[in-house]
């Protein structure tokens, strides 16, 4: 097993951990953290392929990872403020209880 497949396996593992957390946890904030983990796993994939793939001088992987980090930060900010607004309305962050659209 080469170096690249080691990094890719780690990235797949992190992705599935994030997916498991996003699908099974009850609190909305932890679902958001799971989504952030999935984005990070994809970033690791990009950097690993940049390092071990053809044409690393084009810096494509590094650029994509930088933009992905910025977008993830913006998404975390907006997501957390949505959770705060929902909490202010219905006094709970439990996703099992937030299952009706009636306001």
């Amino acid at each position: 097993m080469s170096q690249l497949s080691g990094y890719l396996l780690l990235s797949a593992f992190l992705f599935s951990i994030g997916l498991a957390g996003a699908l099974t946890r009850r609190n909305a904030i932890l679902v958001l953290i799971g989504i952030e983990l999935m984005l990070n796993a994809a970033n690791l994939n990009f950097i690993a392929f940049w390092r071990y793939g053809p044409h690393p001088e084009a810096l494509t992987g590094v650029m994509f990872a930088i933009f992905s980090i910025s977008v993830a930060a913006a998404e975390a900010a907006v997501g957390l403020s949505i959770i705060l607004a929902v909490y202010r309305h219905s006094r709970t962050t439990d996703l099992d209880k937030l299952n009706s659209m009636k306001g």
Partner: protein, 171 residues
């Protein structure tokens, strides 16, 4: 599979697994920070220093603290009244295991054939800056707009409407 890669991978896996399974939410956020620092160290080991430091600055310095603040303000740090996992835990875990199996099969069958022995590429900060200004200038401007929109949007969404109406008029 060098020893440093195995060590950093172990730290990252422990941190992220703890982040998704612990009961106390603030412990989850702190374990997530540990996992993200491990990931940043992996980026630096792969030769992308700029991305590694940016990851620490943005994720550990901002996103983790934002999540901690959100946990404080939504009172989620109090001990859980019921189960911490939702009622769909079996199917959720099954889906995650299936996804990992498919990805692992694709990885092992796809890349273990040829060992890749390229030399370490150099990515100095100057090259990253030049690339941002020449080839990637359009994404840079779009990211600026996106971040501005996110800033304004997050501020409006989290603003207390009741107090916002009170502030108009008298002081």
């Amino acid at each position: 599979m060098t020893i440093s890669f195995l060590l950093l991978a172990a730290i990252t896996i422990i941190g992220t697994a703890a982040a998704m399974t612990l009961k106390n939410l603030v412990h989850c956020v702190l374990a997530l920070s540990l996992g993200l620092v491990g990931l940043a160290a992996l980026y630096m080991q792969l030769g992308a220093q700029f991305v590694g430091f940016t990851q620490i600055l943005v994720y550990v310095g901002a996103v983790a603290i934002l999540a901690a603040f959100a946990i404080m303000m939504t009172r989620s740090a109090d001990p859980a009244v019921s189960h911490v996992v939702s009622s769909f835990r079996a199917s959720g875990a099954l889906i995650a295991i299936l996804v990992f199996a498919v990805l692992a099969w694709a990885t092992i069958s796809g890349t273990s054939a040829q060992p890749i022995l390229t030399a370490a590429p150099e990515s100095s900060v100057g090259q990253v800056g030049a690339a941002l200004m020449h080839r990637f200038v359009l994404p840079l401007e779009v990211i600026g707009l996106l971040l501005t929109a996110a800033l304004i949007g997050a501020g409006i969404l989290a603003m207390d409407e009741h107090r916002g109406n009170q502030n108009r008029g008298t002081r």
